[in-house]
């Protein structure tokens, strides 16, 4: 038996689609075969809510009278890109003013979505067609033209576990790592995580409609650092950081319950992004993929205190138990991404589909199949 996108969407329109969250289907898979799951289930919803530094917003401010070609731009004192035409900018989530490192691009994005007025100051050299050299004003989502969340790399498929073997505390983007492996942190939602339910991206590609920060957004490309070359475990799950997605969506429709600025001590600002991807159960293979359970998803434990050394391999079941064992030592584990809110996202997406408000899209362009990751070589001139 196979099922097409058209059949699924037809069922969605009639309010007859059977939709389960990835956790529900993993539970089901304990007693049912992929063949039985295929027969019963049309769509599986996934979710994640974690800090994703490679995020940002495209804004267009509109033209002032007389006009300015903005070449240096600050929003609430944070320098943002001045390299996009006259009145466009890209606010990177990690943009910041070193004098005030706790307020950055992520906070600008969150404040805008919360309806706040922010101070915009910009400078240009003055040209014949854009004579103005300076402007200081306020902006909000009501005053500007476009406000598009546009994230180059989100929803990492699997991720390392971080611990620290040194005798000094380390403040990292994986949280506070106590000395002598007193703790370890992990960051994906395991069996609920979007790209772990379609590990080869058979159904996720350009144009895939998704839940993005409270609204319907889209996958716009493969994410940066997209990597298909890592080893795959016996259950077909890539071990370590592999595939990623680029996403975009309308900021005016977003809700800061599913988008939040964050500051990691001595690291910097980041942005919590809420993403939910629907997985169509097209055939038995997809039914088997979404059946994956936390005990079958493995990842690497790395030493963030020393060169990212590989220390061992653990499952998400072990990580979620609150304790893992590495080299005979028991280590307290903590999540970095919110499983509670990831579940909320998967449930909202399920409701949207059940209510006929959200149809599935086949990828317009598939994800790359043969990608490895390059490093940066230092050259001295």
């Amino acid at each position: 038996m196979v099922r097409s996108y058209e059949e699924i969407n037809d069922k969605i329109r009639k309010g007859k689609a059977v939709v389960l969250t990835a956790e529900q289907v993993s539970e089901m898979a304990k007693t049912m075969s992929p063949k039985e799951i295929l027969k019963k289930v049309d769509v599986v919803t996934t979710g994640t809510f974690g800090a994703m530094c490679s995020s940002g917003a495209i804004l267009n401010f509109g033209h002032a009278q007389p006009a300015i070609r903005m070449e240096r731009i600050e929003i609430n004192g944070v320098p943002v890109s001045g390299g996009l035409a006259a009145v466009d900018t890209f606010v990177g989530a990690t943009d910041c003013n070193p004098a005030n490192p706790k307020y950055g691009g992520a906070n600008i994005i969150e404040d805008l979505i919360n309806g706040k007025e922010l101070i915009l100051e910009a400078w240009g050299k003055g040209t014949d067609c854009y004579p103005r050299k300076h402007i200081k004003t306020t902006i909000s989502l009501d005053t500007i033209n476009e406000a598009i969340l546009s994230n180059p790399r989100n929803a990492y498929q699997n991720y390392n576990v971080a611990t620290n073997t040194t005798d000094k505390i380390k403040y990292t983007y994986m949280g506070t790592l106590l000395p002598n492996m007193k703790n370890a942190s992990y960051s994906t939602s395991g069996e609920l995580s979007p790209l772990l339910n379609d590990p080869e991206c058979r159904t996720i590609g350009l144009g895939t409609r998704i839940f993005l920060c409270g609204t319907q957004g889209y996958v716009t490309w493969n994410g940066t650092q997209f990597n298909t070359s890592k080893p795959v475990n016996e259950f077909g799950v890539p071990i370590g950081n592999t595939r990623t997605i680029a996403v975009a969506g309308e900021m005016r429709e977003m809700n800061t319950r599913y988008l939040r600025a964050a500051y990691y001590k001595r690291y910097g600002v980041s942005l919590f992004v809420g993403i939910g991807v629907p997985i169509p159960i097209l055939d038995e293979d997809m039914a088997a993929r979404v059946s994956i359970r936390n005990c079958q998803i493995t990842t690497n434990v790395q030493d963030y205190g020393h060169n990212y050394d590989h220390l061992g391999t653990v499952t998400y079941e072990q990580l979620q138990s609150g304790q893992i064992e590495i080299g005979g030592k028991k280590i307290h584990t903590a999540p970095m991404a919110s499983l509670a809110r990831a579940r909320e996202i998967a449930n909202i997406l399920k409701q949207w589909i059940e209510a006929g408000q959200f149809e599935l899209t086949a990828p317009v362009r598939p994800m790359p199949t043969n990608r490895s990751l390059k490093g940066l070589e230092e050259k001295i001139f």
Partner: protein, 135 residues
């Protein structure tokens, strides 16, 4: 041992030299947690003294003799649960077990009775939702 005290003294300079004396004459590690200074009228310091119990006792006796008021403080951690996103990052550094997050609901739980006020959570919450409160 670590003891937390409030020192109230008559002038700003007195407070400054006092912490210096604690370090130099009593060999105590002093960590200033909070300083409320008003130039002419003196001020208040909340400090942590880290040394052997006898050293701390001698230092407190000395301070009381020299006319400053010393009182012990309680401090507690306050958590803004309304803004909490239940990410769990703060539980990584709470070895006292006051902060926990686990199945089935994966919502953050804060048990103030287990808190030893180590303050590690203050720097661990990416949303800055913990505050220390002196009583």
């Amino acid at each position: 041992m670590v003891k937390k005290i409030v020192i109230s003294f008559p002038g700003e300079s007195a407070g400054r030299s006092l912490t210096y004396e604690l370090v130099k004459d009593f060999d105590i590690k002093v960590n200033i947690l909070k300083a409320d200074m008003e130039l002419s009228r003196g001020g208040k310091l909340v400090v942590e003294l880290d040394a052997e119990p006898e050293q701390i006792e001698r230092a407190i006796a000395y301070m009381e003799q020299s006319g400053v008021e010393v009182s012990s403080v309680g401090s507690k951690i306050r958590h803004n649960s309304e803004l909490c996103i239940d990410c769990g990052a703060c539980t990584s550094s709470c070895l006292a077990g006051a902060l926990s997050i686990q199945a089935p609901d994966w919502k953050l739980k804060f048990d103030p009775d287990k808190c030893v006020v180590c303050k590690l959570c203050l720097g661990s919450c990416p949303l800055g939702l913990f505050e220390i409160e002196f009583t």
